[in-house]
Amino acid sequence: MDQDLKTELSKHGIFATSFEELYNWGRKNSVWPLTFGLACCAIEMIATTMARYDLARFGAEVFRPSPRQADLMIVSGTVTKKMAPQVVRLYNQMPEPKYVIAMGACAISGGPFRDGYNVLKGIDRFIPVDVHIPGCPPRPEALIHAFMALQEKISAQQLTGESRPRHLKQELPSEFPVPEFGEHGLEPAQNDEVFRNPLKVLQG
């Protein structure tokens, strides 16, 4: 069913779609984020849900406090080493399909507090991240752009075949090991299956 035939039909009020499109359309327009404010980015996240920037236009203004009912985790703020086990445990306790937006420079790579002894240098060391938003804090428009990027990602997912998303593959884990508190830092310092170290990728 090629695209221009569909647009032609839809001009006459006939909507042709596939089951996959319908499934993805339903899921991408009701992404429920987890109430999970860490630091300054959380205030910008709250400002995005308020009247002026209105995250409700993207179906995401329902912020669920419990991970059981949330399907998106916005890591908004600095993830410290003391907070990292909790972040990973919350991610594990979210039902599939789940997504992660790393909001702000701190969640992506430690940001301005990168060389702090208690700061984890980016949450993608322990959990897979779907959308990264640079900024410190990113403006509300940037967070809305992240939601649009996530929605495009969801609508591009196939339900069958090899490139199915993670939650449709039995063998891919939906849980990641929770780091422990060690004597001098977190043990392990990062999770090597998840963390694709850019430098290693360049060298390797």
Binding site: L38, I43, M50, Y117, P137
Partner: protein, 376 residues
């Protein structure tokens, strides 16, 4: 099989619960280990450190100028007052003076920060009380107006990085001052609307009066500062005590409470907003023109003489102090922040004992903590 005695909590039927780092009521990653008898709180131990980002360690390896953007991220709702606290401490350390116009701009932006912080605090307090959304929408509508002013002045909404020791970074245009005057003129109407909706509301009064009472002796001894202290009837406002900057030119009154409960702390914020409007009107009216930077202040390579200085201001949360020890090198030997939010939490347990767990949420909201400042 030896009978192991159950932990002390189970012995007298108390439920051990932690309102942990991820909790809608804790204004960030703050954790309270609570022991409950049914719904009543028998013991409450706060746990900090989940947002300890090593602000002081990083500032000690950075130069005096480079520490200013970090002060924005201390109390990330009031970046201008953090800058001013730090700038005041460095000016005391290095003996710099601030030109007249810069002093006026500092008062204007600091009081605008106080407006948006107190409005946000009242919105969040009502959100903690269960009125989820509506009061916060009104409060953030006003806050967005103030953030627009900050953005047009300093370039950023929340992280303004605007003040320097010896003055301010950018001069504000007459058009900006006009917009600020317009905002101040309209803010009174918002406050009347807010008070009409909230102050007389029986649910608010029932949920906040005689809840979380803090006596004035305990408040002084535990170092509580800011609106929380004045709600207990102690007349101590660093703007009046130290009269830093040019606060002695503005005749504003300091509201005081009698009972020191959550309702008084809420009223402190509302009344302080009204006093702030008076200060802003006067400051915007008679701001002089002139330089905005002390000419002899060296920003890049500031090397203050060996010595120390403790500068403090009245931030919307309380007394925010910066203690700097210089050893003549470009970076401070010791850089210490006196966090009002952390010290105001000393008495959290004393206020919450005997109350229900729903009141703990309201009491914590009335203290108005920001985790960036608590954990630094």
């Amino acid at each position: 099989m030896t009978q192991v005695a159950p932990p002390e909590a189970e012995q007298n039927n108390l439920m051990e619960l932690s309102m942990g780092p991820q909790h809608p009521s804790t204004h960030g990653v703050f954790r309270m280990d609570v022991r409950l008898d049914g719904e009543r709180v028998m013991r409450l131990k706060p746990v900090f450190g989940y947002l300890h980002r090593n602000h002081e360690k990083i500032a000690e390896t950075a130069s005096y100028l480079a520490a200013i953007p970090y002060t924005d991220r201390l109390d990330y709702l009031c970046s201008m007052t953090n800058n001013w606290g730090y700038a005041l401490a460095v000016e005391k350390l290095a003996g710099l003076s601030v030109p007249e116009r810069a002093e006026y701009i500092r008062v204007i932006v600091a009081e605008l920060t106080r407006l948006q912080n107190h409005a946000g605090m009242v919105g969040f307090l009502l959100q903690d009380m269960g009125a989820s959304g509506t009061p916060l929408m009104y409060a953030f509508r006003e806050r967005e107006r103030v953030l627009d002013l900050f953005e047009s002045l300093s370039g950023a909404r929340m992280m303004c990085n605007y003040m320097r020791f010896g003055g301010v970074r950018v001069d504000c245009s007459a058009e900006w001052l006009g917009q600020a005057a317009q905002l101040v003129a309209g803010f009174g109407g918002f406050l009347d609307e807010f008070e009409q909706l909230l102050t007389g509301n029986e649910i608010l009064m029932a949920r906040t009066q005689r809840v979380g009472v803090l006596s004035s002796e305990l408040a002084i001894n535990a170092g509580v500062t800011g609106p929380g202290l004045r709600a207990s009837g102690v007349n101590y406002d660093v703007r009046k005590v130290d009269q830093y900057g040019i606060y002695d030119r503005f005749p504003f009154r300091v509201p005081l409470g009698e009972h020191g409960d959550v309702f008084d702390r809420y009223m402190m914020r509302v009344l302080e907003m009204r006093e702030t409007l008076k200060i802003l009107e006067e400051a915007l009216r008679d701001i002089p023109s002139g330089p905005i930077m002390d000419p002899k202040a060296r920003l890049r390579g500031l090397r203050p003489k060996v010595g120390e200085a403790y500068g403090r201001i009245e931030s919307p949360k309380g007394e925010l102090g910066f203690y700097l020890i210089s050893d003549g090198t470009p970076n401070p030997y010791r850089y210490r922040v006196r966090p009002p939010s952390l010290i105001n939490l000393t008495v959290l347990e004393d206020m919450c004992l005997g109350h229900n767990i729903a009141d703990v949420v309201v009491i914590l909201g009335s203290i108005d903590i920001v985790m960036g400042e608590v954990d630094r």
